[in-house]
Symmetry: C2
Subunit: 168 residues, 2 copies
C-alpha cells in the first residue's frame, strides 16, 4: 500500500536519491542535468508551499511531489505540482496515487485549478496518465524543451479545473 | 521618437510610476494589487535577466519591459517578457516598439523562442497586438486569472519561435 504524508527533513536523503537520476537524465524536468543537491532542495522543498512523499509498507520512500501556486496573487488559485516516482517503484500506480492526493490537497488548500506548465511530449506515459486524471492539453509549446537525447521537443501545457468533488 | 535602452537605477522612480497603477488595477498582471514598491522592484528589476525602458525625445520614460528565461536550463532557450506602457504614452506604438525590441534582444542573447504565460483574455488590445507581432495563442487557461473587476477570466498562453530574421 502507498501512503502519502508531508515531507520531513529526515526524508531528504531518500527524496534526493529519487530526484537525482531523473534530473540528471534531463528528459522530463527542465532543471540542469548538473543541478547540485542544494539547488534541488531549493526547488523541490524550499520554494513550494508543500512537499509530500509516497511511502510503502516498510516506510520506504517510493515517490515525491511538490505543490505550489503557479502564479502570483491573481493567478494563485491555480496550483502547480511536480511528481517523481523512484525507479524501483515504477508500475505500481504511485504516480496516480500522488496525482489524486495532490488534487485533494490542492482543493483542501483552497486552490481552484491545477496546471502543469511543461509536460514533455515525449514523456507519453505521463501525458496519458494526467489525461486519465482529467487534465487536458490546453496547448502545445513547439520545441520548448531541450531534451538531452532528442534535442528540441514539444511540451504541453495541461490544466484541470478542480471545482468538483474529489473521490479519494 | 521612442528609444529603448537598459534600465538604470535612477530610472526606478519613473518605472514605478508606470507600473504602480497597472499593478494596483489588477486587470492585466497577476501581482497583488497591494504589492509594495520593494516587491515590485524585485519582480521587475531583480529577478529578470534584463529590464529596459522606452524613452521619449525629452528622455521621459514611456514604458518598460523585462526579459528573462521562462524556465530552468532545459527550457531556458524560451524567453519570457512583460511590458507596461505609461498611461500618458498610450496609443503611440510604444508597446509595439518594445515588443520588437524584446524579440531582437532575445535573439541577440541566444533565446530561440518567446512565451507569454498569462495574457488575460479580457485585455483584447494586448492579445491582438501580440498576434500582429507573430505570437500565437497556443492554449487558453480557463478562469486562470482573478480579475479585480470581472472575477475569474480566461488567460492565454502565447508563443513565438524566434528563429528568423528580425526586422528592427
Amino acid at each position: 500500500m502507498t501512503t502519502l504524508r508531508l515531507f520531513q527533513p529526515e526524508d531528504w536523503r531518500s527524496v534526493w536519491q529519487i530526484l537525482e537520476p531523473i534530473f540528471r537524465a534531463g528528459e522530463t524536468y527542465p532543471y540542469s542535468p548538473n543541478i547540485t543537491e542544494a539547488e534541488a532542495r531549493v526547488v523541490w522543498i524550499d520554494v513550494p508551499a508543500a512537499t509530500f512523499v509516497a511511502v510503502g509498507d516498510r516506510g520506504e520512500v517510493l515517490g515525491t511531489y511538490y505543490l505550489k501556486p503557479n502564479q502570483s496573487e491573481l493567478g494563485a488559485h491555480v496550483a502547480n505540482c511536480g511528481y517523481v516516482v523512484g525507479e524501483a517503484a515504477r508500475g505500481r500506480g504511485v504516480a496516480s496515487t500522488m496525482c489524486e492526493h495532490s488534487q485533494a490537497e490542492a482543493v483542501a488548500r483552497g486552490f481552484k485549478a491545477m496546471q502543469y506548465n511543461l509536460v514533455i511530449s515525449t514523456n507519453e506515459s505521463a501525458v496519458k496518465l494526467w489525461q486519465r486524471h482529467g487534465f487536458e492539453i490546453v496547448g502545445t509549446l513547439p520545441k520548448a524543451f531541450r531534451h538531452t537525447k532528442l534535442g528540441y521537443v514539444d511540451a504541453h501545457v495541461m490544466y484541470k479545473w478542480l471545482d468538483m468533488a474529489i473521490v479519494k
